[in-house]
């Protein structure tokens, strides 16, 4: 086990983590501000990926594809907020789970109907493909490095938006006391639609970016959705900072666990059994992590309310 391999795996874990953060940030923002559990967030991720694949197929431009992913996901988000989600604020969590579960069914089958069951492919553009040599002689794919940078930049932008702008102040105020901020003359309905659209756009962006290294297919959103939920539950629902730390924890645990747990078990077990036990445990590692965090802190690392 060389240092190079460890660094490469840490980078992979970071890349996975920042992509999870894009998903989790939207989820946690929507929960924090509107108190809504949105299972359909994975569908917005899928919509972003499909929009990007379709536009990239038609124009050949990766930048246009990303723009399309952002725009289509934001519009889809705003539309479902205005037609369905708006009616769910203040309802029981059970209703929210059910209604957004229904949205998953509708979006998944609708996409299958539009694009068929076969996966689409989104290619990495030439200027981002190929490896780069990092200090220390590590060869690492440029595209994955770009993903880490994009994720960190978006995180920074989101922080600036929430901490430093007028809209951010309104969002934070809406989290604390929606009636007071409505009484102060802020259009709370518009604010909610905006927050939902921002969350949707982030999910769509993540879908498009990850779609270029995996295939774009129906059902791609749900595994990521569950991981994003694990992230926000670990971080504390409603906290962007928690989502960031949770995302990196989950990304690193999942990636490093898959590599190192089988090696660890080989120290005191026969190789065949060690590989099996290790990889079984690795695939459960993040859920074990989440249970441990919740048992230790029932509202997550940075969570305030349940």
């Amino acid at each position: 086990m060389s240092t190079l391999l460890i660094i490469e795996q840490v980078l992979n874990g970071l890349q996975f983590g920042v992509m999870l953060f894009l998903m989790a940030a939207g989820l946690t923002l929507i929960f924090g501000v509107m108190g809504l559990i949105n299972l359909a967030h994975g569908s917005l991720y899928m919509i972003g990926a499909f929009a990007a694949a379709a536009v990239a197929g038609a124009t050949g431009s990766f930048v246009l594809a990303l723009a399309a992913a952002l725009a289509v996901a934001a519009i889809a988000g705003a539309l479902i907020e205005m037609t369905v989600i708006r009616r769910l604020y203040g309802k029981a969590h059970l209703d929210q789970v059910l209604a957004t579960f229904a949205l998953i069914l509708i979006f998944s089958e609708g996409t299958r109907w539009l694009f068929g069951s076969f996966p689409l492919f989104l290619d990495i553009p030439d200027y981002l493909s190929g490896p780069v040599t990092l200090p220390g002689g590590i060869q690492y794919p440029l595209y994955r490095l770009t993903l880490i940078a994009v994720g960190l930049l978006v995180g920074l932008g989101l922080w600036a938006l929430i901490e430093r702008t007028r809209i951010g102040i309104q969002i934070r105020a809406g989290e604390n006391d929606r009636e007071m901020i409505a009484a102060l003359g802020v259009d709370i309905r518009l604010l909610y639609t905006l927050v939902f659209a921002i969350g949707a756009a982030l999910a769509g962006l993540a879908g498009a970016l990850v779609g270029a290294i995996q295939s774009v297919q129906v059902g791609m959103g749900e595994p990521v959705l569950i991981l994003a939920f694990v992230v926000i539950v670990i971080g504390g629902i409603g906290s962007i900072k928690g989502a960031f730390i949770g995302a990196l924890l989950v990304g690193l645990t999942d990636t490093l666990g898959g590599i190192f747990l089988p090696e660890l078990f080989k120290l005191f077990m026969e190789p065949g059994a060690a590989t099996q036990t290790g990889s079984a445990l690795a695939s459960m590692a993040i859920y074990i992590l989440m249970s441990l965090v919740l048992i230790w802190r029932p509202t997550g690392l940075f969570g305030a309310r349940a």
Partner: protein, 327 residues
Amino acid sequence: MIPERLVNWIVFAGLLAVPLWAIVVDEPFTITLVTRAVILAIAAVGLNIALGIGGLVSLGHAVFFGIGGYAMGILAYHAQTYTSLDLLGMSLAGTKSMPIIWLVAVVMSALAAWIIGLLSLRTSGVYFIMITLAFGQMFYYFAISWSTYGGEDGLSIYVRNGFPGLNTLVPIQFFGLCFVLLCIVLFLNARLQNAPFGLALNAARQVPTRVETVGLNPMRLKLVAFVISGAVTGLAGALFADLNRFVSPTMFSWQLSGELIVLIIIGGVGRLYGPVVGACLFLALEHWLGALTEFWHVYLGLILLAIVLFARGGIIGLLTGKEGAHV
């Protein structure tokens, strides 16, 4: 508006009449379809004890369904390969006998529910939904990587397990067995609902503080409800595996947990026959809409959305004109 008791009797009679009619016109597939509905109804009745009376929104009940399924799969696998099951230094023989399999399924899923409940009930609200989901995923990935019992491919059992005095391979006899179990589970549920335990549990859902003030422990009530609920769903899992003669990790999937909740919501939350109505309607929709269009999930989604937004009490609520329990 129709009284709820009448709705219940109509559902009960219908569930019994359809398979009998299917014998007359010789359509064994219909019997299998209704058997599936009955088994899913048992699973949903189980979940309804935790969700409807106790207000515990568990998005991980597939765990117990899967444990029931694997209890059947593992025992029958060892019996059909004439190998022994080595457990904690003991060497046990597999079995093809349903009553033993059911007992193992119930005990194992109750045990799992006790451990999961003990840990999960420390949290509440969204966190509870999410931690149960996480436990579901944990079991799902465990089953996938458990190559001794088929891993991702699952286990096939060639001959359906036996029940003393019955030929379970005859569809109507297996249906009868499942139907009797559904009746027993419904009877227990009805007794539970009106027993002091059920009333206290109901109160613990609505106002936990008051329950605590009169000297009851809401946590313990909920834990017991969760264990009973898990055990019933586990029994359904064993039956489901026997119906298909197949178990696979999909029995642990979170979509299945979601579907179990869907069944209850379609029928009506916290109502005795809610899960039964939901299961029948769900399979009828799957059968009829699935024959009409490949994309029947779109319509299922729309119906579900309409029920959540406009018909809070589910179908039974719609028929009887009462909203029913709020969770």
